[in-house]
């Protein structure tokens, strides 16, 4: 649960590399990457994080091949591969 403040780590978001500060949540990295919609709803609408605290499930993404991981409750780790299902 500890990290070096200010240290920089690299993640891959939808095949693009992004550099973020250690301790950043995946949901924040998605916003920094300019993604607004990170999921497509059952009727085709773009969606993004609503509750920010692990309740609504709107921010779910695939991380390192594991589907339905909540971006708002996951810290960025070096080398992490994040895939969204939002509009391209």
């Amino acid at each position: 649960m500890s990290e070096h403040a200010g240290a920089s780590i690299r993640v891959t978001i939808d095949a693009r590399t992004a550099e973020v500060e250690a301790g950043t949540l995946v949901v924040a990295a998605l916003a920094m990457a300019g993604l607004r919609g990170t999921r497509t709803s059952v009727s085709g609408q773009p969606r993004a994080a609503l509750c920010g605290m692990g309740i609504c499930q709107e921010c779910r993404v695939t991380i390192d091949g594991r589907a339905h991981v909540l971006a708002c409750q996951t810290l960025c780790r070096d080398g992490q591969i994040i895939q969204t299902t939002g509009p391209r």
């Binding site: 500060e21 924040a28 920094m32 919609g37 773009p46 969606r47 920010g52 692990g54 609504c56 708002c72």
Partner: protein, 432 residues
């Protein structure tokens, strides 16, 4: 993994951490778990530019230094297992069947998120959600933000957004100016809260703080571009990049309900003077027992920790503090009670259930929550009705809490870890 502890604490916010510390001081072997990657709950949330606050550092350091305390972060309850055990899914350890002599529920609260036209657009979040996202590193510098809904949380969110460089266009509060003036006068009884209010708002200087007002509609192409607000009967439109709207908090009682704990009329876990629930061996503390703020949660947590460990000591001072903060909580509740404009049903084509994309109109004709679920799939998606259930209960007065395990989407490997344990009651897995 099948560990056993004297006391297991669900939730690592102020209530859970203080419960764990008291229990550990009394000599118990304690495990604390939380679904977030870091301890502190919502109120003590940390992030890359938000170092842990002093009260969190202190209690967290004490727990880390205690060999009798185990802390699991990124671990959530999937199901209760009989007798006196829980199935957890941990990001680090996978499925854990943890058993206990005593369980302390410190599951906190979530925001009451009420639908309005366009609330599914990216850029609409809860008010507390905005604060959580910013602390987690979400950049908002230069963004125009409207903060809306109800309660003191709007001011906390305002301060965090401003400190992160956002331009807060307006704070939209549903409570009346009269109710707020009366509440402000009552802050004399809790000077620390008065100082906090002044700090968070910078004395309201240069702030558009609109009382008696509610968000009506978010508009934009694929993201928020503007918001329309009802100020009484007058509609006002503001250009903005984000809308952060939350109508106070609701207790998280899913696990308590599944364990058979009685729930009171306010939708919180019913609790006695010793922080015990109606179920033997299950205690509770913090906002899952009623919305009361961090100070109350800490005191309740400590009381629950002592009670669970069975140690006899003089708790009169703690009980007096509890009463003090309970009275403050009652004044907050009275001041920010939801008024008619906030409870008004949005247009029929507004989505109620965001998981299954079911509209208000599709749901409103049914007699109860169960009927609505069966016919429309409302509340049956990944969030299991935690968002739309709260809204349906506000609009229609329905009883919406009917938890069934698994409480969250879980991996099959986690469920397999439960082999050899029986579920607590047949109704948990049977059709209702």
């Amino acid at each position: 993994m099948n560990p056993h502890y004297d006391i297991v604490v669900a939730g690592a916010g102020p209530a859970g951490l203080h419960a764990a510390r008291a229990a550990a001081q009394a000599g118990a072997r304690v495990a604390v778990f939380d679904d977030n990657p870091r301890v502190g709950g919502q109120v003590w949330r940390q992030g890359p530019r938000h170092a842990p606050q002093a009260p969190l550092r202190e209690v967290h350091a004490a727990l880390q230094a205690d060999p009798n305390v185990t802390l699991w972060s990124s671990a959530r309850v999937v199901a209760p297992l009989a007798p006196r055990a829980l199935l957890l899914e941990s990001a680090e350890h996978g499925g854990i069947c943890v058993s206990y002599d005593q369980l302390i529920l410190a599951t906190g609260a979530r925001e009451r998120l009420l639908p309005f036209a366009g609330w599914t657009l990216p850029g609409v979040t809860g008010a507390g959600a905005l604060q959580a996202l910013i602390k987690g590193g979400t950049p908002v510098r230069g963004e125009r933000i409207v903060i809306a809904g109800s309660g003191p949380l709007l001011l906390a969110s305002l301060a965090t957004a401003r400190a992160a460089g956002a331009q807060v266009v307006a704070v939209v509060e549903q409570a009346s100016a009269f109710a707020l003036a009366r509440f402000a006068a009552s802050l004399a009884a809790t000077p620390s809260k008065l100082i906090q209010a002044v700090q968070l708002t910078r004395g309201f200087a240069g702030l558009r703080y609109w009382t008696g007002s509610v968000v009506r509609e978010a508009r934009g192409a694929g993201r928020v571009e503007e918001v329309s607000i009802m100020r009484g009967t007058r509609e006002v439109t503001l250009a903005c990049d984000r809308i952060a709207c939350g109508y106070g908090l609701v207790p998280n009682v899913t696990l308590a309900q599944a364990l058979g704990c009685a729930i009171n009329d306010s939708g919180a876990i019913a609790v006695d003077d010793a922080q015990r629930t109606s179920v033997d061996g299950v205690l509770t503390a913090g906002e899952c027992t009623g919305i009361g703020g961090m100070e109350l949660a800490r005191v309740q947590g400590e009381l629950a920790g002592w009670a669970a460990s069975g140690v006899t000591r003089d708790l009169r001072a703690l009980r007096a503090q509890r009463l003090h903060w309970q009275r403050f909580a009652q004044r907050v509740e009275a001041a920010f009670a939801l008024r008619e404009a906030a409870r008004a049903l949005p247009a029929a084509d507004t989505l109620l259930c965001r998981c299954e994309d079911v509209t208000v109109g599709e749901v409103s004709g049914y007699a109860d929550w169960r009927d609505a679920k069966m016919h429309t799939r409302c509340g049956m998606g990944p969030c299991q009705g935690r968002i739309c259930g709260g809204a349906a209960s506000t609009y229609f007065g329905w009883q919406t809490g009917q938890p069934r395990a698994p409480f969250h989407p879980a991996q099959i490997g986690t469920l397999m870890a439960a082999c050899g344990h029986e579920p607590p009651r047949n109704r948990m897995l049977a059709e209702d």
